[in-house]
């Protein structure tokens, strides 16, 4: 009996260990097979209009969420903008949205690419917590590669530190 308890304990421990390994195991990153792909010449991707707030679709006018320098946490004004966007999406249950993460020109290029990803993801997380299905929301980071406002001043920089929602 004692031996059986011992075995059971060991099994339980193994199960727990296996479970925790299973949990911590990272999903394998999606990697293209290493074969050579031919050069594609896609259509040039025209930048989206810099001021989509003025789009005629009044009922689906998303508001951008703005961020502080080198930050991806949601400020109160970003929360209210995203709440507005969440209501729009809730009222239009078939609508899909792309959230673009953008950064200002300061800071290093590759770090900003990662930071834009965090900003887009922070906005997505908010919408999901609000109740919007995650499957309706795609994110992309443009880092500092596609600024909304040109210029090297705080006004332009603030315009460019944003999570920008685009109806798909």
């Amino acid at each position: 009996m004692k031996r059986m308890i011992h075995v059971a304990l060991v099994l339980a421990l193994v199960a727990v260990a296996a479970g925790s390994i299973g949990c911590s195991k990272k999903p394998a990153p999606v990697v293209a097979p290493p074969q050579v792909e031919p050069v594609r010449t896609p259509e040039p991707t025209a930048p989206t209009p810099a001021t989509p707030e003025t789009q005629p679709q009044a009922e689906m006018t998303f508001q951008p969420a703005f961020f502080d320098y080198d930050k991806y946490n949601l400020r109160p004004d970003a929360v209210s903008a995203l709440t507005h966007n969440a209501k729009l999406l809730a009222d239009n249950p078939s609508a899909l949205v792309l959230i673009e993460g953008h950064c200002d020109e300061r800071g290093t290029r590759e770090y900003n690419l990662a930071l834009g990803d965090r900003r887009a993801r922070a906005a997505k997380d908010f919408l999901v917590r609000y109740g919007i299905e995650a499957s309706r929301i795609e994110t992309i980071s443009y880092g500092k590669e596609r600024p909304f406002a040109m210029g090297s001043n705080e006004s332009a920089w603030q315009q460019n530190r944003r999570a920008h929602l685009v109806k798909k």
Partner: protein
């Protein structure tokens, strides 16, 4: 003066490239072989004295003097500017044209030369069928001894009636090597991004900004080009499929390969041995560093932190990486082994330290640092000591070492727009690649090559 004994000339090997050189750097063998070799003059690497060197007017056999691509300079002028750019020499044209008074010797930049000329370059250009051959001789001014005599093929564009600069670049590298014991970097290529009205594309140019060529035609945003040590591949982040992917262009076959479809893959960096590639990806929710095989297979995550980790750069040995992390609250430089062990923080200052590049010849890290709201270049040893500011005036981005471990190329935003600059980290002297027009940035410096890397046309 002693004449260097060169058992293996750096460009004399059969292959196009020197993959072994990259391996030697980390083990110290390179220093043994080159840095402490018996050098011809007393010049040692790191000494800031610029050696006066004479360039005699070349002689021309079976052809009239030709002009060179990009500005129509003569062969001696192209060579002179290459030697100026080494920051190790003060080239003097002979015979002197406008020195003014008989005793006054001016270098090619118009500055008086006070020290004696130490060596002399003679060149004979001759037609060899449809080709032009340069027979160059380097002579020790003191003893009159011939240091080397070598032939260089000079490419000729019959349509434009222009000669190509590559053969002259190779001569400049040989002069640098034979006189200083250090490897030159004139026969190299610079990859960079040029922004157009709608798209950004990757281009190549020589180290003097001439002989440029467009590499990508993706009509999309591209960023972060990085050379494979073979010179055959350039990896970069591309938006041509919508979401960013890690792509590599094969300069030999003119093909694009997808290295990684993982989420937001950025900042690719091939290992010095060319077998691995490090990059950052947000595949698991946050930007982390991965090391994969060079073709992107078998990615292995090496950082585990809820804040951003990106911008990896390999040590010369390939054992360690320096990278940027937000884990300290603000972006700072860290180092980590390629297997993810032995993490160490390097910088603690400033609101933003990033874009590190590990010297190919030492433990110095060039990086960008935010100082009073502007972005400058600085150096620091990987152990965190010896921080040194390199620039003033701000607007600096993406510094990348030249293979000589002395020069750094970077992009700078000025009132006239962005452009590429090269700084000599020993003296702080900066030159702009004025031959490059347009909005150019995000550079990467190749290793020296025997042949120029160009994107060959399909079937060409």
């Amino acid at each position: 003066m002693r004449i260097i004994k060169v058992t293996e000339h750096p460009f004399g090997v059969g292959g196009l490239w020197l993959p072994l050189a990259a391996l030697f750097v980390g083990t110290g063998l390179l220093t043994e072989a080159w840095g402490q070799a018996e050098v011809y003059t007393e010049i040692r690497k790191g000494e800031l004295v610029k050696t006066p060197i004479a360039i005699e007017d070349f002689t021309w056999r079976d052809l009239a003097p030709v002009r060179f691509q990009g500005g129509g300079e003569g062969a001696e002028q192209v060579l002179a500017w290459d030697l100026v750019y080494t920051d190790a020499f003060r080239p003097v044209r002979q015979p002197q044209e406008n020195s003014g008074s008989p005793g006054l010797v001016l270098d090619v930049q118009g500055l008086p030369v006070d020290g004696p000329v130490r060596a002399r370059i003679r060149g004979q250009m001759r037609r060899d069928g449809q080709r032009i051959e340069l027979r160059a001789t380097l002579v020790d001014e003191g003893s009159g001894a011939k240091v080397f005599e070598r032939s260089y093929e000079i490419g000729w564009d019959a349509i434009r009636q222009e000669a190509d600069r590559w053969g002259i670049h190779r001569l400049a590298d040989d002069v640098t090597y034979y006189l200083t014991g250090s490897r030159g970097c004139a026969a190299t290529r610079i990859a960079f991004v040029r922004a157009g009205s709608a798209a950004k594309e990757i281009w190549l140019a020589d180290w003097d900004g001439h002989s440029e060529q467009q590499v990508t035609r993706l009509g999309a945003i591209v960023l972060s080009p990085h050379w494979h040590p073979s010179g055959r591949w350039i990896a970069f982040t591309s938006f041509h499929l919508g979401q960013p992917t890690l792509a590599a262009t094969d300069l030999e076959r003119n093909e694009l390969r997808i290295v990684s479809n993982s989420r937001t893959p950025g900042a690719p960096a091939y290992a010095p041995d060319g077998k691995s590639i490090a990059y950052s990806s947000t595949d698991e929710g946050n930007a982390e560093l991965y090391v994969a095989r060079a073709d992107g297979s078998r990615p292995r995550r090496i950082t585990f932190d809820p804040e951003i980790d990106t911008e990896p750069s390999w040590s010369p040995s390939g054992r360690r990486l320096v990278f940027t992390s937000g884990r300290w609250g603000k972006p700072q430089l860290f180092a980590i082994n390629a297997d993810g062990s032995d993490l160490a923080q390097i910088t603690f200052e400033s609101t933003w330290c990033g874009s590190p590049d590990w010297s190919p010849t030492s433990d110095r890290i060039v990086h960008v640092i935010s100082i009073d709201g502007t972005f400058e270049l600085a150096l620091i040893h990987v152990d965190g000591t010896g921080w040194q500011r390199l620039t003033v005036g701000g607007g600096c981005e993406n510094p990348r070492w030249a293979p000589d471990g002395r020069h750094v190329i970077f992009a700078r935003k000025e009132s006239t727009g962005r452009g590429l600059m090269v700084i000599d980290v020993e003296t702080g002297a900066v030159r702009r690649l004025t031959a490059l027009k347009g909005d150019t940035y995000n550079p990467a410096w190749s290793l020296p090559a025997r042949e120029r890397q160009v994107l060959l046309k399909p079937g060409g």
